[in-house]
Every structure is written in C-alpha cells, then in structure tokens.
Subunit: 391 residues, 2 copies
Amino acid sequence: MYTQEFAPEVELRKSKVVAALNAMNTDAILIGTNVNNYYMAGRVFSGYVYINREGYLHYYVKRPALLKGDNITYIRKPEDIPALLQEAGVATPTTIGLEMDFMSYSDIARLAKLFPDATATNGSGIMRYVRATKTAYEIEKTRISAQGHMSVYKSLQGIYHPGMTDIELQIEIEARLRRAGCLGIFRVAGPSMEVFMGSLISGDNADNPSPYDFAMGGAGLDSSLPGGCNGTVIEPGMSTMVDLCGNFTGYMTDISRTYSVGKLSDLAYRAHNCSVAIHHAIKDMARPGVKAADIYNLSRSMAEEAGLSEYFMGHNQQAGFMGHGVGIEINEAPVLAPRSRDVLEAGNIIAVEPKFVIPGTGAVGIENTYLITAEGCENLTDFCEDVMPLD
Amino acid sequence: MYTQEFAPEVELRKSKVVAALNAMNTDAILIGTNVNNYYMAGRVFSGYVYINREGYLHYYVKRPALLKGDNITYIRKPEDIPALLQEAGVATPTTIGLEMDFMSYSDIARLAKLFPDATATNGSGIMRYVRATKTAYEIEKTRISAQGHMSVYKSLQGIYHPGMTDIELQIEIEARLRRAGCLGIFRVAGPSMEVFMGSLISGDNADNPSPYDFAMGGAGLDSSLPGGCNGTVIEPGMSTMVDLCGNFTGYMTDISRTYSVGKLSDLAYRAHNCSVAIHHAIKDMARPGVKAADIYNLSRSMAEEAGLSEYFMGHNQQAGFMGHGVGIEINEAPVLAPRSRDVLEAGNIIAVEPKFVIPGTGAVGIENTYLITAEGCENLTDFCEDVMPLD
C-alpha cells in the first residue's frame, strides 16, 4: 500500500484518529471516501479503512489490483468486512463512526447494516478535525506546492497582449501551472461545490454572483459552470484576480494575487492596500488559541474603518467567510467566519483572503496560505503582495 | 433563471420527470444536486427543484443572487420549503423522491424531515432514467462538443518531439482543448470517481491498475491521483491512448484514439483492428429495444474469437464494462456491461470503448460516442479510426 518510509506517518495519523475516537466516545470508524482513504494510506484506493480505539487499523481494498501489505485484505463488497474483523479477533464495536456528511445516503445505509448491534454516528467531524492539524510530512508537501504555485504567479509579467480575454489568460496560466507540476485536480468538499482549475476574474465580472460558495464569483463561460471567466476582454484600468489551483503534491496551497494592465483607480489601490494591511495584522495575531471568528472580525473591522465595507468579500453578493483551512481539499477546517467556533491550533494551514470588489475596476486584494506554529504564524506563500503588471 | 427560448425545454424535461414519477408511483421529487439542478433549470444554482405528479415545478434558490422568474423563490435553508409549498396551495406529498445515491446521508436526513408525513424514497433512479434519453436540445449541445473534441484529436500529427513524456503531451492537448472551447470540468458520478481532464496513457503504463472505475488505468504522477500519465517517455513502438475531456457545452462527448510514434507490434494492430470491427458491428446492431448486455456480449465474443480475451478491457486489471451513457456526466445510463438490465431507447447517447492492453506496446482501440435514433445508431464522432501518427 505504502512505502516503508511512510509507515511512521500512518502510525502518527492513526494515533490522531484514535485520540479523536476516544474524545468522541466512539469505538471505531469505517471510512471510505477518496480523501480520507488517501489521508490514512498515503494513496487513493477504492475501499475502506477500519480503525478502532485499540489502535487496530486495516485496509479493505476493492481497487487497484496488486497492492501488497500485511494490513491489506482484498474484498469484493463491504459486506465482506464483518467476518474479516471477527477472524482477526477484533472486538465488535458498539458505536461506529461513518462519514455521513460526505458519503451518500445509500452508501451509509449499506455500511450501517454491517454493524447491526452498533450505533452508527457521524464520523465526518472526526476526520475533519484530525486533518485540520497537519503533520510535519504534510507541511513539507504543502511547502512543495507553495514553491511551484508561487513560481508561476511570479512569471506573469509580459503575458498580456492587447485584446486578450480573461479565458485566454487563464488557459495560459493553467498550462504554466501544469508544466510546473500542478496535478490540476482541485478537490473541494461539499455537494454544491465544483470548479475546474480555480478562478480568474477580470473587471466587472467580479460583481457577477455565482452559485458556488467561493470567496469570489464571476459569471462563467457556460451556464453549466457559472463561475469565473466570462470572456471579458482585459483592458487597461481593469484588475484581474488570479486564484488558480496550487495542487502539486496532493496538498494544496491557495494563493490569489491581483494583476493589472496600466493603472487602477485610487479606490482600488486603497482597497488592495487594506487587504495587505489585514494580512499583516492577521500574521501578527494568529497563533494557537486564537478564535477563528476573531480573525474574521478583525478583518471586517479594518475594512469598515477604511470605509470599504460595501466592497468587502464581494459587492452584489458577499461571501460569509474570509478564510479557510486548506490541505487535501481546498475548504478544510478551521473556517474564518463570524460564527465559526474553531480555535486555531499548531499545525493548522489556513488560506486568508480578504478581498474587495470595486465596481468599474474588479476584484483586488491578496490571498496567502499560512502555517500556524507553536510560536505564531508563518507565511508559506511569501512573495510580492503589490498589484502586479501583466503587460 | 433561464431564457424564454429555454422555457419549452423545461416543460419537456418536466413532462419526462412527471411520467417517471407516475411510473414509480411517487408523488413528488425534491432535487438538489448540481447536475440535476442544471438539468431542470438549464443552469447550475445552489438550491432545490420541487416537481410533483400534477406538474408543479418550482425552484428554491440559495445562490446566486439576482436570478429572476415567476417560478423562483429565494430561501435561506431547505426548512423554508414546506411553508412555501403550502402557501402555493400545493398538495402535501405522501411519497417524496430524494437523490439518495448522490446526496450525503446528512443532507438526505435533513430533507426527509421536511415532509414528516411522507415516505421518502430513492429518487436517484428517476433522474438517471430521465436523463438517459436526450432531448433534441441536448443532442445539439452534444454535437457541438463532438465538433470541438474531434478538431483537437485530428490536429495531433507533428506534436511529438523525441524525449517527450506522456504528461508533456497531455498538457499540450489539454491546452488545445481549452483553446478550442473545452470547459475543462469533467463531471463523473460516484463517490470513488475523480479525474482531472481525462486520461492519456503511453506504453506499459496502460497495465498499471488504478483505483478508479474507468475503462483504462495508469499509475498517475502522484499517489493522490493514481490514474493516467506516469511520466513515461514516449518511444517509437509504443502506443498512446488519448481519452481526454470533451465538455464544450455542459454535455460531453467521449472519444478515444490510439496514436503512435513509428510502427506498433503486429499483435497491437490486430487488436486495434478488432476494436474497430467491434464498433462497426455495434453500429449495425444498436437500435431501440436492443439489450445493453447483448452489446457487451457481442464485443466480448468478437475479442474471444480473435484470440484477444486476455487483453480485452485491460490485462492486469480488466474493466467490467465496455461502454456507458454520456451527457452531463461521463457515466450515465445505459451501462454496457454483462449484467446490465438496460435496454437501448431512442435518445440514448452512449460511449463505446472496446479497448485492449497489449504488454510491451500499451493500450489500443478506439472510443466513439453514438446517438441511438428511432432508425438505428448515428456516430457523433465520425473521423479517422486508424492508429494515428504523433510524429
């Protein structure tokens, strides 16, 4: 299943899950989504992982063929699992966590029947909580994504030609990201969320509301994917917000930068500088024990004090959050939102994106990905924060 | 919500859903997944569509802001819906269909509580069945995708340079598809399915099994996405199977072609020609009333008669199907598999992909997208079926 080198990482992640099972008074968890299988095995496979409070961990694999390991059993269907657990002498659970927020009703109903004497509980929060604090291995994977991601964002001067549309620009940046090693896939949790390779919005397209719960909108090119680029011709005086996929390792970074051709309006620069000032204030403030809601509130107050409330996090439609955890998925815990009950912990990796939509100009501001350490906050995406030229 | 021009299409799709509700003896359906919302509204939105047997259809919208229409009500949460139905004088359902195969357990449990006196049933099959026969409007959208998709596949001669890797080739084709108007997003149903922009496999990478239930495998570039390209350097004598995304309109076509640098082995050409012969036999056979399983069985027998069974649909790991419906998602009904109970109907659009994996050469064969008409079968992706040169 995984290399010898990865074995200690499996033990570490298992110990985090076991601690969470104990905290939630849950005997065992049976997971089966790609993201959580990947988290527990270091590779995506089709099948299930069983972990109990005693520290028993086993992989039940449907596909791919040919995986090897002491803790792997091939199965044809999940109904094969209970007998295998019994054969292995594993105690029958009285409570079993299942990923009820992420697996379909039909799949959960089927899995719950495997343990007829157990109470099935929602184990989604256990995995969400465990994944919110990254291990040293995961942090290193994230640093690699940050390097690739930043290298492309730094290379965009001169990419512009007169008459260029937002989608032409996006396709060129997508190709550069892919050539730099970006895996392309942009994992996002939640049934109403979908995206191709991220968002690029130029000018007043930033004010077109979208159905997706991302920070920014955009009309999209087609009603089947109504977000991001809409074919806007990029003109001098227009901002272009680039917020494209930074998935180079399975662990994403999330970076936005504002680009322009020529000068923007004074209001736009003022809002951009407010975004940068919010970042610096958050970098000073964020550390273990700080409430995620307080970070949101600080940002909102700074926007208010600057007289920019009506543009903060959108204009026609405003996002209800200003940042989020990031890792295997783009929207992990903690959530930086007014009613978030999350508290920062060492190992959190958070994307912070105080942005403004200025009618007549477009979206401005920046987004960085920060690591919360025991001492404070490290910017994993530390490079130019100014509005950068495309021409 | 939609243009005046699209209104008759909504009526037509609604009438198909109403017929299915009657056939399934279900009073109403409440849908809420992006794909089915898109199907019923012609655009993706966040919210729900309610349709009952009397033909009442209403959209309950959370996002985006600013949509307009007589049949739209903005809601904050699904719990707002029952009172709105009552105000509209809509009869309380005694059975309510919900998308239990596609929405999370938590979401379904929440929606079922909206109708405490109704029996909640699995409405996934209703939408799957309705979407399997395409309307004229949907067929036209698919034809547009076919044109864009084919134009790129036809343009690949000369793309190769010595030392080129599979991923370098894939990135170049991705960019060409995007420039031709491909929306990039590749919608696939099922919790264990994910893909970036499709699959390209060169040489013996075709024999690396993957966790995903696609026809072909590939090791992938990273354990977080173990399918497709693995960095193989493309050499003379190696086949390259291109199976990349054809989503230009929200309705996909699915096309595979085999490319090579120089000559392949005799066995590889024999298998490729068998794939083409299977296609021609299927095109003659496929029409309304034909069983999907019979098409699979014909293909399998032709492979057997040619002495190619051990290579059919994979070698180390064989796929259990040989074709599938395609539309908004890449894996719709009907399914061409040995135990499929689907029967072809006029309006089905099916991707047929009899492929072979030849050790030492790679994957060969072709995939076309066919429309089932009252009279028979039309190839929507009719162009060169030979092994095509990359150099």
